[in-house]
């Protein structure tokens, strides 16, 4: 019964990533979209918790949202996988259900 957690807000402005990490089961995955993308940045204040989360969760980031925000993929935390909208659709079918942390 694994869950795809979707985060669309910056970890610096909203509590949604923290809450997701507190409530996500170990086999669930996390997809970063829209302003949720900012959680991918290396050497940033939110990086440590994202790196720790990678031990328990697959973490994906939506590439078109990454590009819109001008984040260099080289500055992404290692282990985060990029997907496009087709990949986003596939993730929602790979996991039993999705949970958008609005």
């Amino acid at each position: 019964m694994s869950v795809l957690h979707i985060i669309n807000k910056s970890p610096y402005d909203r509590s949604s990533l923290d809450t997701c990490l507190r409530l996500a089961q170990p086999d669930s995955a996390i997809l970063l979209i829209e302003d949720g993308i900012y959680a991918v940045q290396k050497n940033a204040a939110a990086a440590q918790k994202v790196e720790q989360a990678l031990a328990n969760h697959q973490i994906y980031a939506l590439q078109p949202d990454l590009e819109a925000r001008g984040i260099n993929p080289d500055n992404m935390i290692d282990g985060i996988a990029l997907v496009d909208y087709d990949g986003f659709v596939k993730l929602t079918t790979d996991y039993d259900k999705s949970q958008s942390w609005l």
């Binding site: 829209e34 078109p64 496009d84 909208y85 596939k90 079918t93 999705s98």
Partner: protein, 124 residues
């Protein structure tokens, strides 16, 4: 779909997701517009020429792929999104709903949750 056009990216994300799901051959049971999401259903939007037309893009999905676009009636009434019938019933002199959208009740959201294999929420 919980937010209106332009102000939040949610409507763009939901559109691109829906288009990709159709490309992949999935059936879209319904797109349900709630909260400010009902504002996607206006036909009076006049975006700048170099910008996308969010409402028209949804209408095209309805027209070309038969996607059901439902505005929640209570949310739409509050925010001033009316079709011809609703406008008449409320004694309003005009209406603003775009082609391809329909007004219906919240039950359509629950029904979609029951019918569909997956439900994805886009919002603020």
């Amino acid at each position: 779909m919980n937010e209106g056009p332009y102000t939040h990216q949610a409507s763009d994300s939901a559109y691109h997701f829906t288009a990709a799901a159709l490309r992949a051959g999935h059936e879209i049971v319904r797109v349900f517009f709630y909260h400010d999401g009902v504002n996607n259903g206006t036909r009076l939007s006049v975006p700048p020429q170099d910008d996308r037309n969010v409402s028209e893009r949804w209408s095209e999905l309805a027209n070309e792929h038969g996607v059901e676009l439902i505005l929640c009636v209570a949310a739409a009434q509050r925010r001033g999104l009316l079709d011809e019938d609703e406008a008449k019933r409320a004694g309003k002199d005009s209406n603003n709903m775009a082609p391809g959208f329909q007004i219906s009740g919240l039950g359509q959201l629950i029904d979609a949750g029951i019918q569909a294999d997956r439900l994805v929420v886009f919002g603020d």
